[in-house]
Amino acid sequence: MITEIAPAPGRAAAEPARPRGRRRRAWDQVPRWQIYLPLSLYLLFTLIPFYWILLFALRPAGSTSLVPWPLTFEHFEKVWIDRSFGVYFRNSVLVGVSTLVLTTLVALAGGYALARFDFRAKRGFMLALLCSQFVPGALLLVPLFQIFASLKMINSLGSVIIAETVFQLPLSMILISGFIRNVPPSLEEAAWVDGCGRLAAFRIVVLPLLRPGLVAVGSFAFVHAWNHFLFALMFLSEQGKQTIPVGLNTLMSADSVDLGALAAGGIVAAVPVVIVFAFIQKWLITGFSAGAVKG
């Protein structure tokens, strides 16, 4: 939204000074069809799959109609109760929210240190952060499994929460330290002069300015933990402990796949993510572009 408003004032101010006609705006040169035609084609490609899953979730089993009519919610009932997606949903929420909180707190502390201090281990730590982004969690399944087994954390949601947090941390911390660097240190110093301690100054002055960035990082962590599959598959084998992606995989790998239930389960998996994104979309773009300024 910001991006739509931003260019206007500058232009308006510059306009009267120059002869008319020479200053055609950049977007006036693009014929409309060159925007709408490729965009519509791409939208078809994007939206048909979404329509397809809605169609399968809402039409009766065995129907081949291309409109979801007569409307039915039998698949949702079946998947929520018979296939225990209600339980999976609760577990996924626990994993997602815990990962969000843990990642944001730990990354905030570390990010602040990276942004505001010069210390001996800083370079090494930054390098470790960058390198760890290239370490694939999928390839560490076996050692991670052994670690969690020795901690007696297999079949506990804690194992997945820790694993998701650890792999979210590097990027989150790099982004957050970028956000903090964008806040002028003089603001904080002014608060110190006024008698605030470092923590109070941070909470009162810096934290409110970080909100868009934190929303972006936190929601990213939540969505990632919500969506991620492999850790949960490996570390949670007990049925009542599994998360939604694992439940979906179970439905998909059945001998004869119940397509209606699968579609309904998929929609159950998508709803929280859709809600999160609907709320934060505006903050997400500003948050990420703010972080990109000084990575």
Partner: protein
């Protein structure tokens, strides 16, 4: 290193008086939780992978466990055709996916960066698959590709193809079918990053170019593209690593099949360790994957002179 050793910021007078919270130790306290988590759950596992890659280690065959030296690696490169196939397929998968995602993502970003009626809605819809997980992507495309009530049925109704076609279980169609499914989710990633970077192109440059009578293509080539270069390099690299590593989609969509046709190296590693419990050999394969990732990243950053000469 020398500058890094110099302690703390230039001491601002207020800080000396006000903030007594041992500034020397404070940064270490702040990074401690992150550092401990990463040591325990990234560094230690990586080191143990290196260690086990030099051993025979299989919990189901404990009598064979022991030091193996480089045997695992020798075996991988000389006697394991599946390993070679998985490497080839990984390369194919990464190049095709990242290449197509970059092209479509760039085009899409340029389009939705224009001003037009319905832009906000257009952006939201076009970007929406980005948030869809690998598993959910598989669910959606399994529904689309299923042989009974999938898209092929309706195509056959129109006289295209034949009934009962299953693109995912036919070795000649499984690759494009999986590529399209992953593109659906991957293109918005590039589009979002490039769009964010497009916001910071200086408008003055375009105006200057317009005064000089530059065409749209010239403006794209000489202003937009150079500006986007860093973002493109970085997102391409990140995406390539991600596509190489990610197993969610292929694991659930094709399971690496049919007939091992879509098994990437990480998928092969997962199968080797999860199904065959051959942890030593899986660790050796993982080590190979690390080396490949590291090498490709360095070469790529060098070639593209990332961030310009400094």
């Amino acid at each position: 290193m020398a500058q890094a050793a110099a302690v703390a910021d230039p001491p601002a007078p207020p800080r000396r008086r006000r903030v007594s919270a041992t500034p020397r130790r404070l940064p270490y306290l702040l990074i401690a939780p992150a550092a401990l988590l990463m040591l325990g759950f990234i560094a230690y596992p990586v080191l143990s992978v290196f260690y086990y890659s030099l051993r025979d280690y299989n919990p189901t065959k404990p009598w064979r466990n022991g030091w193996a030296g480089l045997d695992n690696f020798v075996h991988a490169f000389t006697q394991d055709p599946q390993f070679r196939d998985s490497l080839v397929f990984s390369a194919q998968w990464v190049v095709v996916e990242v290449g197509l995602q970059l092209v479509f993502g760039l085009a899409l970003a340029l389009i939705v960066n224009q001003t037009f009626v319905g832009r906000a809605l257009g952006r939201a819809l076009v970007f929406s698959p980005w948030a869809v997980s690998g598993v959910l992507t598989s669910v959606i495309w399994v529904l689309l590709y299923n042989s009974q009530t999938g898209i092929t049925r309706y195509l056959a109704d129109l006289g295209v193809g034949s009934y009962g076609t299953s693109w995912l279980s036919d070795t000649s169609t499984v690759f494009p079918a999986a590529v399209v499914a992953d593109l659906w989710r991957g293109v918005p990633f590039f589009a979002i990053l490039i769009l964010a970077d497009l916001q910071s192109v200086s408008k003055d440059l375009y105006e200057a170019a317009e005064v000089d009578g530059a065409s749209r293509l010239q403006k794209f080539r000489h202003i937009t593209l150079p500006h986007l270069k860093d973002a493109i390099v970085l997102s391409t690299l990140l995406r390539a690593v991600w596509e190489f590593n990610n197993v969610d989609l292929l694991y659930t969509l094709t399971g690496g099949g049919p007939a091992g046709e879509t098994t990437t190296l990480p998928l092969y590693v997962a199968n080797t360790s999860v199904d065959a419990h051959d942890f030593g050999y899986a660790s050796a394969l993982t080590t190979v994957a690390f080396v490949i990732l590291l090498f490709c990243s360095i070469v790529y950053l060098r070639l593209s002179k990332f961030g310009g000469e400094k």
